[in-house]
């Protein structure tokens, strides 16, 4: 598919804006990933009590007023910060851009739980009399809220919406951006994913009830995908938005190009609410490779999805062995070991953290990998310290979610 595309249909990344529990820009985030710096910390949320989480500390007032913060949602603030940072990073003259040609596509795992829990909590103080229920509840909880807040903040009059895709949402937002650029629905796509999930007690309580919430006396060691001592997921907040453009547009303005999105795929397991299916995951990876016109042997780095759950990690390892079995040169890493699971932002953040490897030719590691689970053994899994590489041309990013939703994005280095 890719080899036949004209430059007008080739889509490139020209800007990255992010907030992660261990960095508020791509350079900060990349440095943390190479230094092995975790962003997981003790955290307390209502009803559930002390737990662990990946918590962001970006400057909310950089692009919003206090009134905006009061009016909007945490997911909206994360989205605004990331989108504004991405546009600045892309070197775009924002004031001169026709805002009707910009599309906003934001992946979310869930939206509205935080505000609903807050309102019910407050309503309890009024004996559940609904006349005290806020008029802000609906605009805060509509599913397009995070994307809509970005459009309001940045004056974007092109399309905006969220893509609900469980924990595959970060990739799904990017894929939506690629598709809309190719369809001519926009000339500039702001896309990626956000998560405010640590502000809902329900996500912690539900993972805990499922036996899938991580625990460890040292918070920085709690998130340990593929490790034999893993105990589950560390929930994180965060966001990552990309600026995507057509290659022809990016070249015309002399933009810095992080890479080209040469392939993607999404499919469904259609077997279980929570348990993944390695056969369908492998099928999704192969479909993305086929569309990109790239063989498994040509992939330099695979950014894995693994979350630290017992079963999920085994299933993804099985899928990866099916596709990459025995070829021996592809390296694998995992970003959640540093920051926990940033839900709707995870796929976008995990791709972003790997993009600098095109330049520095380092594969960032999976930390907390002290004793690999034999069932998770993937030849080429980079443990605990970065691995230098002779060349990095292709990065493949996995992102999977509940209800059996799978997504893969493949990015290739662009010669400039």
């Amino acid at each position: 598919m890719h080899a036949k595309l004209s430059d007008q249909l080739r889509i490139v990344i020209t800007g990255v804006g992010l907030t992660a529990p261990n960095g508020n820009s791509l350079p900060e985030f990349r440095a943390a990933l190479l230094e092995g710096r975790s962003g997981v910390a003790p955290f307390e949320t209502r009803y559930f009590g002390p737990t662990l989480a990946g918590v962001c500390n970006f400057d909310e007032l950089k692009y919003q007023r206090r009134k905006d913060l009061r009016r909007g949602t945490r997911a909206g603030s994360i989205g605004i910060y990331c989108a504004r940072e991405a546009v600045a990073d892309a070197g775009l003259n924002w004031e001169k851009i026709d805002k009707s040609t910009v599309g906003i596509y934001v992946g979310v795992t869930e939206h509205g739980n935080v505000e609903t829990e807050n309102e019910i909590y407050l309503l309890k103080g009024y004996d559940y009399d609904t006349q005290y229920w806020s008029h802000h509840h609906n605009p805060r909880t509509v599913a397009n809220n995070p994307a809509g807040e970005i459009s309001l903040n940045m004056g974007v009059t092109g399309p905006h919406y969220t893509v609900g895709a469980a924990c595959a949402a970060g990739n799904a937002g990017i894929i939506q951006g690629v598709q809309m650029l190719r369809l001519g629905e926009c000339d500039l796509a702001l896309c990626g994913g956000v998560s405010e999930s640590i502000h809902t007690f329900g996500i912690f309580a539900s993972f805990h009830s499922q036996g899938a919430l991580a625990r460890h006396e040292d918070p920085t060691k709690a998130s340990r995908p593929f490790d034999l001592a893993r105990t589950g997921i560390v929930v994180a907040e965060g966001g990552c938005m990309f600026v995507l453009e057509r290659l022809s547009d990016a070249q015309a303005r002399g933009a810095k190009i992080y890479g080209e999105i040469v392939g993607y795929a999404m499919n469904s397991d259609a077997v279980d609410f929570v348990l993944p299916d390695p056969a369908r995951q492998a099928e999704c990876i192969r479909l993305a490779l086929r569309r990109a016109g790239i063989s498994a042997e040509e992939v330099d780095i695979v950014s894995t999805h693994a979350t630290g759950t017992i079963t999920g990690d085994i299933q993804e390892a099985a899928a990866l062995r099916q596709v990459f079995n025995g070829q021996g040169r592809t390296l694998f890493n995992n970003t959640k070991s540093f920051i926990g699971h940033a839900m709707g932002a995870a796929g976008a953040l995990e791709l972003a953290g790997n993009l600098p490897s095109f330049e520095d030719r380092l594969c960032h590691p999976t930390i907390n990998l002290d004793q690999i689970d034999p069932e998770c053994d993937i030849p080429g899994l980079v443990a605990n310290k970065p691995q230098p590489m002779d060349r990095v041309e292709v990065i493949l990013n996995n992102s999977f979610g509940m209800l059996g939703i799978n997504s893969v994005v493949i990015v290739k280095r662009v010669e400039q």
Binding site: F43, E44, P50, K67, K124, G125, Y126, H135, H199
Partner: protein, 114 residues
């Protein structure tokens, strides 16, 4: 230990649900006290603006960036803090500080202002 910021001041939410004020032991609020009540509410609703020099006889909207949702916040906060019910037909009375205080005076005669 980090605590959930959505509990607190950043989101403009109280740390705990506010209990409705009770009328027992009530004392009459003066016009100046009522003005301060409205100022306190406005300080929450437009936290970026200087309201110290608000002109009482000039409409709020000519001095502050207030939209219809903000006016509903004034109504909601009076309801939450003082159990004052303001019917929709009376909303125009909340146009300026002067008209708001005049409208609230008979309603807040027997409110506990603690």
């Amino acid at each position: 230990m980090l605590t959930d910021r959505r509990f607190g001041a950043i989101a403009g939410l109280p740390a705990q649900p506010r209990a409705p004020h009770r009328a027992s032991g009530a004392i009459a609020m003066t016009a100046e006290e009522i003005r301060q009540v409205v100022l306190d509410i406005l300080a929450d609703i437009v936290p970026d603006e200087d309201i110290s020099n608000l002109k009482d006889d000039v409409p709020f909207r000519e001095q502050l960036e207030l939209d219809s949702m903000d006016f509903l916040d004034i109504v909601m906060e009076l309801r939450k803090r003082y159990r004052i019910q303001i019917p929709e037909k009376d909303y125009p009375a909340l146009g300026s500080m002067k008209s708001t205080v005049e409208y609230l005076e008979p309603l807040m005669r027997n409110i506990n202002n603690k």
